[in-house]
């Protein structure tokens, strides 16, 4: 089609938004190679010092912890999300389908603060879990769930689950049921048909889900801040602390750049690893 009415008017506003986003990222890149002048918000001359400082054990540790929490959350989300996505796609009654869908997606729209606060009431020493365990006579004194990696991961899975289920369900919904029927008619047990037909065919959904869960976990701030309580620190907490407690924006920017680089590197690795796995599976 050669005629493209209103092309400029349709594309220009979006292009402007893209420019704004690129400008914001470039501003960070620019600040990350500037010197911090204590007591001033204006950065000094150009330097690579910020990136050298990242190698200090204190900061390197936060990066490793963050990567570990992200991986843990992404895979826990995958394990919990798969059966739900399967049930969502194969639910026969529209009411059940709608109910599962709404329960699953609500956390996505609750916002980090409300969700994190709810988890504080669940995990706290006077919270729900400790109360139930104590009532059942399983514990004499509260077990520590707040300020632990376990607590942080649990609360993070709560928000990555919706997007994981939606992405898995989208992939599962587009698998032709005829494949599974063919496997069954050739004598495969339901479990075998699932493992050798449905599961491999849903790989694109698994990839998309794990990738997004990973990136979202990396982006989380309020959850590690409030549930980690300073004892579980992620890169986001460090960036905020440096920006708003020390006003060291150049170093905060360097941390953000390194964080982005780490996210993209790990995501690339996940993709690479899965491709290897697929190749092996085909032989």
């Amino acid at each position: 089609m050669t005629s493209r009415p209103f092309l400029g008017a349709f594309v220009a506003p979006a292009a402007l938004c893209a420019v704004a986003l690129v400008a914001a990222l470039l501003a960070i890149l620019q600040y990350s190679v500037r010197m911090h002048v204590p007591g001033s918000l204006e950065p000094g001359g150009f330097t690579l010092e910020n990136f050298v400082a990242l190698l200090k054990p204190l900061y390197a540790r936060v990066f490793l912890d963050t990567a570990w929490i992200c991986l843990l959350t992404a895979f826990a989300t995958l394990l919990a999300g798969y059966p739900v996505a399967h049930a969502l796609v194969h639910a026969k009654r529209p009411f059940v389908k709608g109910l599962i869908l709404i329960i699953v997606v609500t956390p996505l729209f609750l916002g980090e603060v409300v969700r994190t606060y709810s988890w504080i009431i669940v995990l706290g020493n006077n919270g729900f879990i400790n109360f139930v365990l104590w009532k059942l006579g399983l514990i004499a004194s509260p077990i520590q769930l707040m300020f632990t990696t376990f607590g942080v991961v649990l609360a993070l899975v709560h928000v990555t689950l919706p997007v994981m289920v939606v992405m898995l369900a989208a992939a599962l919904a587009h698998i032709d049921p005829a494949y599974e029927r063919a496997a069954a008619s050739l004598g495969a047990s339901p479990l075998r048909a699932f493992l050798t037909v449905t599961l491999p065919l849903s790989t694109p959904g698994i990839l998309a889900g794990v990738t997004t869960a990973f990136a979202w976990t990396f982006s989380a701030f309020a959850t590690p801040q409030l549930i980690g309580g300073g004892r579980v620190n992620m890169v986001s907490n460090l960036v905020y602390q440096l920006g708003f407690a020390s006003f060291n924006f150049p170093f905060a920017a360097a941390l953000s750049v390194a964080g982005l680089a780490m996210t993209f590197a790990l995501l690339g690795l996940i993709r690479f690893g899965t491709r290897r796995f697929e190749n092996v599976a085909q032989h």
Binding site: R4, P5, A9, F10, V11, A14, A15, A18, L21, A23, A24, L25, I28, P83, H86, H90, G98, I100, L101, I102, V104, P107, L110, G111, V113, V114, Y117, S118, I120, I121, V122, G124, N126, G127, F131, V157, H158, V166, A170, A173, H174, E180, A183, P190, L191, T212, F218, S219, A220, F221, A222, L226, S236, V239, Y240, G243, A252, A253, S256, L260
Partner: protein, 272 residues
């Protein structure tokens, strides 16, 4: 029909998993609701006596009120701008080939992957450089960028299911392009536009991390005000306002599902 039928052992295990995960998902909102009616000023479970006092306190707390109105203003502006920008671009993506098409699309969708604290920090630095730090303009701009991918997706899905023959009929009857767009295309896209706007509005109203970086005392939105409250106080006012939040969100989502078909928007329906 799923081959993992319920009478098989794996089928049963799968069902137990589903129920457990659903329980995990609704536990925190449920617990926070019960805690909100606790009469005592301490965050403890379970409540001994019930009371509505924390709802009254939350609704009259000045920072929450200001945060609500600030947040509402930011949300209405941001989601409406994102709707116009996103719908126009989704149309261009669906119908036209043009230079930098994939580049612009990739950049706009990257706000799904780039951490919110990074986007917040970037806009804070830019705003400081052009002397607009912590103003509404910057907050709205950041929100538009963050919700744009959701509008794009929602409108794009509607366009893919669109019957082009209706437009061709109008054209063949002599309607100029502007008239076809306004009297045929836009009205037929209304469900996609409404659901896109709704998703954008809910996400913007709840956005926290980027807002924490770009808002100031005068422009702070409700989630930022709530975060500051949790850090200072431990009484159940926060639980009360959380309950209002949860109820409003669930109601909006139910509405979206009944009238617009959430399954279609999220692309989890099986194609017919």
């Amino acid at each position: 029909m799923s081959p993992l039928a319920l009478h098989t052992l794996p089928g049963r295990l799968a069902r137990i998993c589903v129920v457990a995960v659903i329980g995990f998902l609704i536990l925190p909102p449920l617990v926070v609701t019960i805690a909100a009616f606790n009469e005592k000023a301490l965050l403890a479970f379970p409540p001994e006596r019930l009371s509505l006092r924390w709802f009254t306190k939350a609704l009259t707390y000045e920072d929450f009120r200001a945060g609500f109105w600030n947040g509402l203003a930011v949300t209405v502006w941001a989601s409406s701008i994102a709707l116009i920008v996103g719908a126009a671009f989704a149309f261009a993506l669906d119908r036209y080939e043009f230079r930098l098409k994939r580049t612009i699309e990739t950049i706009l969708l990257s706000s799904l992957i780039v951490p919110h604290f990074t986007i917040g920090l970037g806009f804070l630095i830019i705003a400081a450089q052009i002397g607009m730090a912590r103003g509404f303009t910057v907050v709205v701009t950041a929100h538009v960028i963050l919700v744009l991918p959701f509008v794009l997706r929602s409108v794009y899905v509607s366009l893919r299911n669109f019957d082009r023959r209706l437009e061709q009929a109008a054209e063949s009857l002599g309607a100029p392009p502007a008239r076809v767009l306004l009297t045929v295309t836009v009205p037929l896209l209304v469900p996609g536009l409404v659901s896109g706007w709704l998703l954008a509005a809910i996400l913007s109203f709840n956005e926290f991390t980027a807002s924490l970086f770009v808002t100031g005392q005068r422009t702070q939105t409700l989630p930022v005000a709530m975060y500051n409250y949790v850090r200072e106080y431990a009484d159940p006012s926060m639980a009360a306002i959380s309950v209002l939040y949860i109820a409003a969100t669930a109601a909006l989502l139910t509405f979206a599902n009944l009238y617009l078909g959430l399954g279609k928007v999220l692309n989890v329906e099986q194609p017919r």
